[in-house]
Every structure is written in C-alpha cells, then in structure tokens.
C-alpha cells in the first residue's frame, strides 16, 4: 500500500525563531490582531510504501528524524495526509 504522509518540521520550543517572530510582528499592520506564538517551519509531503498505516508512519518518523529535521533544534511530526 502507498500512504500519503505529511511531515511537519518546526523549531523546538525555546529555540529562537526569527522568521516566526518577524511574521508575527507584521500581522497587526495588516489588521490581523490577536495572533500570537507564530512559529515558522517546513512541511514535506511523501508517499510511503508500507503494509499498514502504522508502519508507514514509523518509516516517515524515522526519516524525518534522520534527514528532514535537525533534532538539535527542530521537532518533526509525521501524519497521514487527509487528502490521500
């Protein structure tokens, strides 16, 4: 089976995020108030061949930790894509 998976990579809490902070500062000027804790990150979409969902997620989680993210400063999370 092929599973469509999204991997989200964001900076870990406590790691400064100059990109997120800059976006957050820009929002009030555009009229968007009440938005806080903006964190910038990356999203990857991949198709993973596996026997079941759990295996596909496990594989995606492993490759996310090994390559897609730098665990020293980033968290990664693999999830099934709702769009398939």
């Amino acid at each position: 089976m092929k599973y469509a998976i999204i991997v989200d990579v964001t900076l870990r809490q406590g790691i400064s995020d100059p990109e997120g902070a800059t976006i957050e500062r820009a929002l009030p000027a555009l009229g968007f108030t009440g938005v806080s804790d903006v964190r910038a990150g990356k999203s990857f979409r991949l198709n993973v061949e596996a026997d079941n969902e759990a295996d596909a997620l496990e594989k995606a989680t492993a490759l996310a930790q090994r390559l897609l993210s730098n665990p020293v400063i980033e968290d990664s999370r693999a999830r099934l894509s709702a769009e398939g």
């Binding site: 400064s16 390559l67 020293v72």
Partner: protein
C-alpha cells in the same frame, strides 16, 4: 610538510581560498571530492565555505551524508585535525562532529563584513599559536550563522573549554557571542568567520594567519 585535504562538495565556493591560505603558510593542499570514501595520507582536513548541495533542506543537512564524511568522521575520531569554516562548520554540526547547530541570523539578514573576534581558548587546533584574549579581525559571510545549543550542551562547552572564539560585537544572535567551537579533544573546530580571507594586510587583515598556522602546525605534530 603538512598535507591538507580540502573537501569539495557540489556548491563549495571557498576551497581555492582555503587551499591558497594554507599553501601560503607552507603546507600543501589537495582537493578531495565529496564522493571520495577516504582521506588517507592527509595530515589535516578542511571543510570550506560555500553552499554544499545548495544548502537544500538546511545548510549541511545533505553534505553530512556525502561519502567523504564517513572518512572525515573516522579521521576526526582518531584525533586528526579537522577544520570547518562557515558552511564547513554547519556540515560538522549536522554530522554530529561538533555540538550545537547554526540557525538563521537574528534579523534574517545575510551578513558580509569584518568582525572582531576574541580568542577564548588556546586548547584547540585552530588557536594553539594564539593568545587567550587576543583580538582578531576576521570577516564573516553567512545567512545561517547564529550558533545555538541547549543549556546542557552550553554548560558542557563552558566546562570543557570548547568555546574557541567569540564575537566582540555579536552580529547574528549567536548564543553567548559564540563564533567558533571545538569538540571535547580540541582536534575538530568549526567557526563561522573566514580566516582564509584574512591572510594579507593588503586585503584588510592578516589575522587569519595565526589561526591557520596553528592548524597546520598541529597537523604536523599529529603525524
């Protein structure tokens, strides 16, 4: 004579400067293509600046999986002198050969200007010939040079004298003004500034000489 290998990744762009600098100081330099799986016969290895593998994903993220990096890791673990400059520093942190990570600069600005560095430790292969507290004028040229690490790592860096160089005026938001760090043994060093671009007074500064001459002398003593 010290024989220095300068690793060339697709996207490296400071390899000629690095080779020229160590040659100026009396060493020989040879380029090592990133696909090579050994660094046999070299006394020291330099990972130069640039944009290895286009800096895709993150600076250094793909370069760490280049075949040559296994050889560099073995060389480093055997006590060999390894120097990562700018992008090379990023590669060494991604490869786990140096602690911490390099983030985008505070202010999200590409920085290219001279900086004043302060020598914090003379225990590393890059600073053996320097003096603690010595000020050096060395240029920076980077977008992702903000050094970061967790508190535990930071405490270890301080306790083990692994902070090699600090900025006198922090240009990029680096934790505790850190410009360069070493591994525990001091034989692997990474720094964001470019000592190979500070080799001649005619071009602004010759302060890189004391750093690179340390590195070269150390490679000789290892052999």
């Amino acid at each position: 004579m010290s024989r220095i290998g300068v690793v060339v990744f697709p996207g490296s762009n400071c390899e000629y400067d690095a080779a020229s600098a160590v040659t100026q100081l009396g060493a020989t330099a040879e380029f090592v293509w990133h696909g090579q799986d050994n660094v046999d016969g070299f006394d020291g290895i330099i990972l130069p600046g640039g944009f290895a593998h286009g800096d895709y994903l993150r600076p250094g993220a793909l370069a760490r999986f280049s075949p040559v990096m296994n050889a560099v890791a073995s060389f480093a673990n055997a006590g060999g002198a390894v120097l990562g400059i700018c992008n090379g520093f990023q590669v060494l942190t991604e490869a786990g050969l140096l602690p911490g990570a390099l983030q985008k600069n505070r202010g999200l600005t590409f920085l290219c200007h001279p900086t004043t560095l302060i020598v914090e430790s003379t225990r590393s292969v890059l600073t053996l010939n320097a003096t603690k507290g010595q000020e050096l004028s060395i240029p920076i040229n980077h977008f992702s040079g903000s050094y970061t690490c967790d508190d535990k790592t930071y405490d270890e860096l301080v306790a083990n004298d692994q902070i090699v160089l600090r900025y006198k005026e922090n240009p990029n938001g680096s934790r505790d003004d850190i410009a360069g760090v070493s591994n525990l043994n001091g034989n692997v060093v990474g720094l964001m500034p470019h000592p190979e671009r500070a080799m001649s007074l005619l071009l602004g500064s010759a302060d890189g000489q004391v750093l690179l001459s340390s590195f070269i002398s150390k490679t000789l003593s290892v052999r």
